[in-house]
């Protein structure tokens, strides 16, 4: 906008400010209420969701529910194998995703030269983060179940899940590493440390709380994933508990899927109870992550 001769013309053509100001002010005030309600509407939906789930599932929560296996009779059914399966799968997923993700982030942040190759790597990682989870299931099916021959096992599912959450772990770890001030590294180099000594003994411990927070959040995403595990062979109706990583298995979200697909209302209620268990696990994990993040920001004084 040119700030010279025409400016005066523009001012003289502005509308009278006081003419409809009260109406416009009223509209603005009303709108703020509308916007507030719209914002809160989503939270109300969440509240209704939790309330429906708890109302339906509450009566099924009892000790046998946690130890029983699914059965044709709702009153004898439980989530024992599903809880165990979730535990095994997440443990295995973490065992793959954590080291590879953290080491990959270290490479990207500390070691990789700033050239086109690294740019492609970064773009690739953020694209992978946007691929639908069911495609990771197809990937796991083609590579782990069929090509490597692991079959419909915990191993296949955990590997597919690890690939799914790897971008999250890498991105979170990168941010944690980036937050470590350069002075820490430079001081260590100044004392004659090698690159790996600097990274392992100084940068990594400083970034570790942030890395752990990110990993915990990535794992909690993995706990709720259903599609990739269904495609790689998790069973929706499993009565036995797996004894090795090559066995068939089920996990909490797949169990929910199986029971929700049945028409009988009792199974729908069992699904609600299972949802309660899964949400409780997620709540514990996410609270741990948030507390960890709070501890980090309090402890770190550069």
């Amino acid at each position: 906008m040119s700030a010279d001769a025409t400016y005066g013309d523009r001012i003289s053509t502005l509308p009278e400010p006081a003419s409809n100001l009260p109406a416009r002010e009223l509209r603005a005030r009303l709108m703020s209420i509308v916007l507030f309600v719209a914002t809160v509407l989503a939270l109300i939906a969440l509240g209704v969701l939790i309330w429906t789930v708890v109302a339906r599932g509450w009566s099924w929560i009892r000790p046998e529910f946690f130890t029983n296996a699914p059965s044709r009779r709702p009153e004898r059914s439980g989530v024992g194998p599903a809880i165990l399966g979730t535990f095994y799968v997440i443990l295995l997923t973490a065992a793959f995703a954590f080291p590879i993700g953290v080491l990959g982030a270290i490479y990207l942040e500390e070691y990789a030269p700033r050239n086109w190759w690294t740019r492609i790597l970064r773009i690739n990682i953020s694209n992978l983060a946007g691929v639908p989870s069911v495609v990771y299931g197809l990937l796991g099916l083609g590579i782990f179940v069929e090509f490597f021959g692991f079959g419909k096992s915990i191993l296949s599912g955990a590997l597919a899940l690890a690939l799914l959450i790897l971008p999250i772990v890498i991105i979170a770890s990168q941010e944690a590493l980036r937050a470590v001030p350069p002075s820490i590294r430079e001081a260590a180099y100044g004392l004659g440390a090698t690159k790996w000594q600097v990274t392992r003994s100084h940068v990594l411990p400083a970034a570790m709380p942030g890395i752990l927070t990110g990993t915990i959040l990535a794992l909690s995403t993995g706990i709720g994933e259903t599609a990739p595990l269904l495609v790689t062979g998790a069973s929706a109706f499993l009565t036995s508990t797996p004894s090795s990583v090559f066995d068939r298995y089920t996990v909490l979200p797949v169990q929910i899927y199986g029971w929700s697909s049945r028409p009988q209302p009792e199974f729908r209620e069992l699904a609600a109870a299972t949802i309660m268990v899964m949400l409780a696990v997620l709540l514990v994990l996410n609270t741990a992550a948030i507390l960890l993040r709070r501890r980090v920001s309090r402890q770190l004084r550069w």
Binding site: S201, E225, M278
Partner: protein, 324 residues
């Protein structure tokens, strides 16, 4: 901060210790250390390259199985056929009903998420006092943390029977509308937080210019901030559409497993993602046409979401240079 550097390991320490000047530097350990450093750098590089391997793996698996499929079923029949029925004697492998289901449900989801998400973004960015914002923003993020299977359950057992059926008597138990609404609720936080970021990036001077000319808060928000943040908001919307398209479990539970023939959201429909999952529940025989057809859908899905994500990133990159 505890230092774990062994002071005798570094050459620097020798320099410090040998201040007398008459001791030569002991370079004997350097060769092994350099070797181990290179080894470590190699391992780190491999870990970084896993992501490339993953992408290559996805492409290889999808393309190879899709090629096996297209040897049986011509590409045009797949892309433009109107009958998807993989079981039985007279199977059909036209993907159009699935694509239609995907876009109908995603469209409904955007109808829900766009107004509510944008409204939240405007409220949080322009209106809300700081303390309210600190509470509301993480609360909305909670919505994104709920596993999608739970939304599917909610759509199936609450949205359809309790919420929609009373007002829409023609509603079927499995329908696209409930699934669309649930997907919409799921992606509200995505639209809200990305749009809010775009709005917060608008310089204060633009707003203050508007206020100085006598505009109300609403006018500044709608006529100054939102248009200025337009490309960021568009990028957010495109990303949200991509997430909605990739959604699997909500549609599997709530909209049923029958591909649509009418496009009516009050009836059941199946999406591309839902078709993949429901087929695998039935354990199709490996190598059969119906088995590889799912990889063809997967390829279509992958290309679609990748394209949308890339477009979103390009548009978002554009908006950074708009202001000064």
């Amino acid at each position: 901060m505890q230092s774990n550097v062994n002071p005798t390991a570094g050459l620097g320490a020798q320099v410090l210790a040998g201040s007398g000047g008459n001791q030569p530097l002991d370079l004997s350990g350097v060769r092994t250390r350099r070797l181990s450093e290179q080894l470590i750098a190699g391992v780190l590089f491999l870990c970084g390259a896993v992501s490339i391997v993953t992408t290559v793996g996805i492409v290889v698996v999808l393309v190879s199985q899709a090629i096996a499929f297209f040897l049986d079923v011509p590409v045009l029949d797949f892309l433009f056929g109107t009958r998807w029925f993989t079981a039985g004697n007279n199977p059909g492998y036209g993907v159009l009903p699935l694509v239609a289901g995907t876009f109908i449900i995603s469209g409904i989801a955007m109808l829900v998420a766009l107004p509510l998400g944008l409204a939240s973004a405007v409220y949080l960015s322009e209106y809300a006092p700081e303390r309210v914002r600190e509470f509301l923003k993480p609360a909305i993020e909670l919505l994104a943390g709920v596993p999608t299977i739970v939304y599917g359950y909610f759509a199936l057992t609450f949205i359809t029977p309790e919420l929609l059926a009373p007002i829409l008597p023609a509603l079927r138990p499995f329908n696209g509308l409930a699934a669309g609404v649930a997907v919409g609720i799921l992606i509200i936080p995505l639209v809200a937080s990305l749009s809010e970021d775009a709005m917060r990036a608008v310089p204060r001077s633009l707003r203050e210019g508007g206020y100085a000319l006598g505009a109300t808060k609403l006018e500044v928000a709608s006529k100054v901030v939102v248009p200025a943040a337009f490309s960021g908001i568009t990028a957010a919307v495109i990303l949200a559409i991509s997430v909605a398209i990739g959604e699997t479990m909500i549609v599997s539970l709530a909209s049923g497993a029958k591909p649509t023939s009418s496009g009516n959201p009050l009836e059941g429909m199946q999406t591309m993602t839902g078709a993949i999952v429901s087929a695998f529940s039935g354990e199709p025989s490996r190598g059969s046409t119906s088995y590889v057809s799912l990889f063809a859908i997967g390829l279509l899905l992958f290309v679609l979401t990748l394209g949308l994500n890339v477009i979103s990133q390009l548009i978002a990159g554009r908006f950074r240079e708009v202001y000064e």
